[in-house]
Amino acid sequence: MTTIQYLVGFLIIATVITGILFVLFGQITVRKLRKNPKTKDLLGLEYVSGWDIINTAQALAFPGFLSKKLEKSPLSFMYANSKILIENTNRFDRFLGSVFYWIMVFSGLSGALIVLLNSLGAFTG
């Protein structure tokens, strides 16, 4: 196998894991938050159906100071409210959210990096 095939294989595995975690986090945590009247309006802007799962994961995964900054900005309506969400979730929810979010972001951005390197001709050797 060539280098890029290893990387693509790795990405496919990461994508499958992300997919499984997305469904699990959506079903276990976000479903609960969507039903809770205290939190159901605080899940951020839903560009497409299901995007609130990603907003919630981001709010649970980001370090506190970053979330606070985002929520103070004029764009705060786009993000989920981390303070109230953290109050309404247990430790397992927060763990699941962080794992899902960071695996998603890491594998997605490394995908973008591979595309960039590929277009620069890094794998043609």
């Binding site: 196998m1 060539t2 890029i4 095939q5 693509v8 294989g9 990405l11 496919i12 990461a14 994508t15 499958v16 992300t18 997919g19 560009y47 497409v48 995007w51 990603i54 981001q58 980001f62 970053l66 900054k69 985002l70 103070k72 900005s73 004029p74 764009l75 705060s76 786009m78 993000y79 998603m104 972001v105 594998s107 997605g108 951005l109 995908g111 973008a112 591979i114 595309v115 960039l116 590929n118 277009s119």
Partner: protein
Amino acid sequence: MSEILLCNQSLNSQALQRQCGINTDQLSALSCEAPTMTAPNTPYLIGDDPSGIGRGVLGQFAPAHVARELTNLSLSFGGDNVVALAEINAKLKEYSIGLMGASTSVYAHRIGGFAGSVKDYQAALMEYRQAARSGSPLKIAKKQQAHAAFRKMQSQFRNELDVVNSQVRARRGTPLTSAERATNIARSSRNAAKLNVTSQVQANNLVKFSQHAKFLGNGLAVIDFGGRVGSIHNRFQAGGNWERELFVESSSFAVSALTGTAVVNVGTAALGLLVVATPIGWVGLVVGGVAVAGTAAAASIGMNSVVKNNSGGVYDSIMKWISGVL
């Protein structure tokens, strides 16, 4: 080129002569006989068909659900526009692979919105047509609704409409450039429409368009997935290695969607931080948003092609490894 006639009610030869200036002798149906009357929602070929293309086109339009939808679309939009819209729709499918990857990108949303607004406009026109034909007192209100739907479509999707209309050459304007013309077409007592179909490919696009027209607004996902399933099925029918094709198509879809999602998410967070840290205004935000969407689309289109080119090799290695272990 073949000329196809579609009517929404049965017409005898006098009515046909009066409405369209067509003699029934010129018509032929799929069953090859010269009809004395035209049946509703049935395609007829006008003129002779030395090349045999017309017959093939008739065959493609013949299924009842295709013919009915196509008749309605042609009567409310006019024949030229239906052909143009079908072409646009076929192009969208080519782009949709990349757009779907960035399923969240602003542009995918926009195309969905465009399809939706054309659909709303069409629905309003059809309602007006019904009201006008039956002389209902709601006629004027329906006409206003159609005009409102047109204005909404015009104001939001001017660029897309220009693309569609640049392919249509109608001197009096088309329902997509003038609401007045549209309501006139809808009101007039025409119940037959002619389609000029130049090729089998065009006919195929028309068939697909009439089938998609109903749920176009719901998503490019359906279309994109349909395309991918189609290529797996082709491989299966050709007796090829369809499991490998399945692996390639599904993994490239999933990975490119993931890439687009991550870029959009991180991009919006970065944008939010930028807003706090710097005094950029709303203009900067819009520019930033477009940049994020563009990056996401580029990344996922690139990802789609990288994975398509390489996941076949990954599949082969996995299979080799498995057969080595067993």
